[in-house]
Symmetry: C2
């Protein structure tokens, strides 16, 4: 098929929405390490996990053998309201850069949550409903995950209780109002309604909260109320599984036009978007297909892969969750609050961490002013105002396209555009005013937080 | 074709983006009355208009004979970045309402301007560029038009100067920052940089500004700088012409599935969306096709059609623009500033006014709390958080669907969903807090503002 026949936007039909989630763990030679009980250091059992998580989601969390996991029809029906998402050929960006590269991006921002988070939120809400639960609890920082979960719970008539980090609750009232419009209860964290919240408020009067504290509150709230479970928007293998619809649609669209990607780029905070985008490509590669250059892009302010260690660590600051083996900066690491984007998580999904450890993917870190330069450039040329998170991938896509301009190579570059920046205008304003800075942790900062990773036999070897 | 084959979202291919704008004036028996020179009360000539507007746009403004006006390839290329927009079958809404009606909506919100405004902005920027101009000026209230124009100007490398009503500039900083991100200069109005702005600031120290004042400033700025012209986002016939892409795509999508709409609904402020949505349907009807029930929905707080008069009136509060014949509440009419939606214009596009006057379309007014109830309901059921403006159409679509539930009729209801409400969360917050009220002008209010419509022979007969 000739290049000029590729439209600006490749839309698949609704019949082409994946019928299965793609479980890349099934084809990984080295499986991601299991979650550990923080007390016994033994793998978490299904029983232990099901106190916190929905039963079916526990099964998915533990399943590293089934390559294809059927997507229930009810979830596919919901997907039809906003999927398939377009794979866009960035003709205008290519032209403006003067690059021979062909650039494609999978755009997940055309839904009210504004990001890919809805793909997993609807699945988690569905299984909670199917289990006959009353509701779910979660935490949210910037608010994308909380918004997505609120939408999913509204659809299935589930109660949704979101613990929103206090500083975001106050500084991002609009995100909060979107959640309320979808019927969610939004509580600023730390609150006075949980033990852990009261304890933190007593110890640190006037604290603005943190994601770690909000997680602890959401977990406590779930386990102490009949008919509730806790749900999480990233890091977990089940979340990456649900997000595989991104990668599968991307692959179907590219296959349709005979395009083989040379480079696949995704931003990486907890790893949900990147893990979902690359899953089927990694699967194809591991089964003898083409070798792709896969680049995980993280912020220089929170460089878990490029400067962290591979070890078992706590997933939350409050240390109430299981231990996960991952690239981590230590659960005490607090990225600069001045960093405008998301991607502020100290660790990385176990699947992504293992793939990185095995050299199947690479990682790169970028500084935030250069990320916002790329974001502004992209907005003006391609029309879409990107989320700060997504703009990390844009930065590297542009860098790679400019390398092609030097070498004359017509590489196919594919990146994930996870969402829109409509609720991030405070960050854009900083950038527009020339008031944005870069924040890079010192070696001493990292040594300190890494030193707090739990020491036990085999860990931090 | 069987009903079940209709997908949730009907996406046309990029080849199906219209190649012509549809000029409904060509088939109207009673043409919209021409713009008048406010001094002489004679029809504005092409020469007079071209001091303010781009030459090609003046031609389009005056053309009431050519039914099809070719869309330049450069504009169609830009349209490909976000069009065709989806025509959505509202299966979930139908099910939730329990109505036998079939509901469709044309969704124009999947672009960064968040609304249909981009369809005309890119056309106006293109003609300005083609004429060799340096830039354009405009006014914006809520900010959707200013955002759309900023995007269009960034694409063509034109300077863009937006006069933003001061209260919006301060209360909607995020809209302002989107415009700045696209490189626009945004000036709070009234400013100290124009004569009219200085005069108003002197007369009314501390004023928050008004759309009328911002228009006057933008026009002065354009005519007093070499290489600049003024552009407008609604009311004018050229704008409705550009917006006909909405209606044409809707018609193509419905024709493809053999669906004939019984009712077509659009919100109406200045008339740009409604005029664009209905243009080809009115054309088909006037040429002997089926009779459609077309409903223009306006806010009860600014009821230009349902409670105004049909007369020549000023388009702006500052009285610097030509007179237009339209349904109007008088140019001195100021809708309650507490009204959360847009649609706060005292008049109505001449084309829409004439169609209403001739009984080809009907008009209905709705109150804002009932509009926000419909908006919240729609958001939860269909997933999309609608703009307050668009939600006026949702309100009436739901009302009509519920009538069908009573009568058992399976009518086809089509409405325009012009945009998203992401930058309108202050209004949603009011609604969520139960702090929203309805504002309906008294008869005395309207008599007063209507009495200020200019009296001259033949007007206000």
């Amino acid at each position: 098929m000739k290049e000029q026949e590729i439209p600006y936007k490749i839309y698949l039909s609704e019949n082409e929405i994946p019928k299965y989630w793609y479980n890349v763990r099934a084809v990984m030679k080295n499986k991601p390490a299991p979650l550990l009980n923080p007390g016994t250091h033994q793998p978490m059992t299904s029983d232990e996990l099901s106190h916190v998580f929905c039963d079916e989601l526990v099964k998915q969390e533990l399943d590293d053998t089934d390559e294809l996991i059927p997507i229930p029809q009810e979830i596919r029906d919901f997907y039809k309201m906003y999927r398939p998402s377009p794979l866009v050929r960035a003709y205008c960006l290519e032209k403006q850069l003067g690059t021979p590269a062909h650039i494609y991006y999978k755009f997940e921002g055309n839904n009210t949550s504004g990001s890919h988070k809805l793909n997993s939120a609807i699945a988690q809400a569905y299984y909670a409903k199917k289990q006959g639960l009353k509701g779910v609890t979660t935490e949210t920082g910037a608010g994308q995950w909380g918004t997505a979960l609120s939408m999913a719970c509204a659809y299935f008539g589930l109660d949704c209780h979101v613990f929103m980090v206090k500083c975001s609750y106050e500084q991002k009232p609009f995100r909060r109002e979107v959640m309320r419009t979808y019927g969610a209860r939004v509580t600023p964290s730390p609150s006075m309604t949980t033990n852990v919240g009261r304890k933190i408020n007593e110890e640190f009067p006037g604290t603005n909260g943190s994601l770690g504290c909000a997680i602890s509150e959401a977990v406590e709230e779930a386990v102490s109320h009949e008919g509730y479970r806790y749900v999480l928007g990233s890091v977990l293998s089940q979340v990456l599984l649900h997000q595989s619809v991104i990668g599968q649609e991307t692959m179907t669209a590219l296959d349709k036009y005979g395009v083989t990607p040379d480079i696949i780029i995704g931003c990486a905070g907890g790893g949900s978007n990147l893990g979902g985008l690359i899953a089927p490509f990694v699967g194809r590669e591991l089964k003898g297909g083409p070798k792709y250059q896969i680049i995980a892009v993280e912020p220089a302010s929170c460089p878990s892969m490029t400067r962290g260690v591979y070890a078992y660590d706590f997933c939350d600051t409050g240390h109430v969750c299981p231990l996960a083996k991952m690239y981590t900066l230590g659960s005490e690491f607090i990225p600069s609050p001045n960093h405008a984007g998301g991607l502020r998580y100290h660790g990385m999904a176990s699947i992504v961490s293992q793939l990185y450890h095995d050299g199947i993917i690479e990682a790169r870190s970028v500084e935030q002013t250069s990320v916002f330069k790329a974001a502004e450039y992209f907005a003006r040329v391609e029309g879409i105002l990107p989320a700060p998170e997504s703009s990390h991938a844009i930065r590297v896509a542009i860098d790679e396209a400019l390398k092609c301009k030097e070498t004359g190579e017509a590489k196919n570059i594919v990146f994930g555009l996870t969402g829109t920046g409509y609720f991030d205008m405070v960050a854009y304003q900083q950038f527009n005013d020339g008031a944005m800075n870069d924040f890079i942790p010192t070696d001493a900062d990292l040594e300190k937080s890494i030193s707090q990773i739990p020491h036990f036999p085999g860990n931090l070897a």
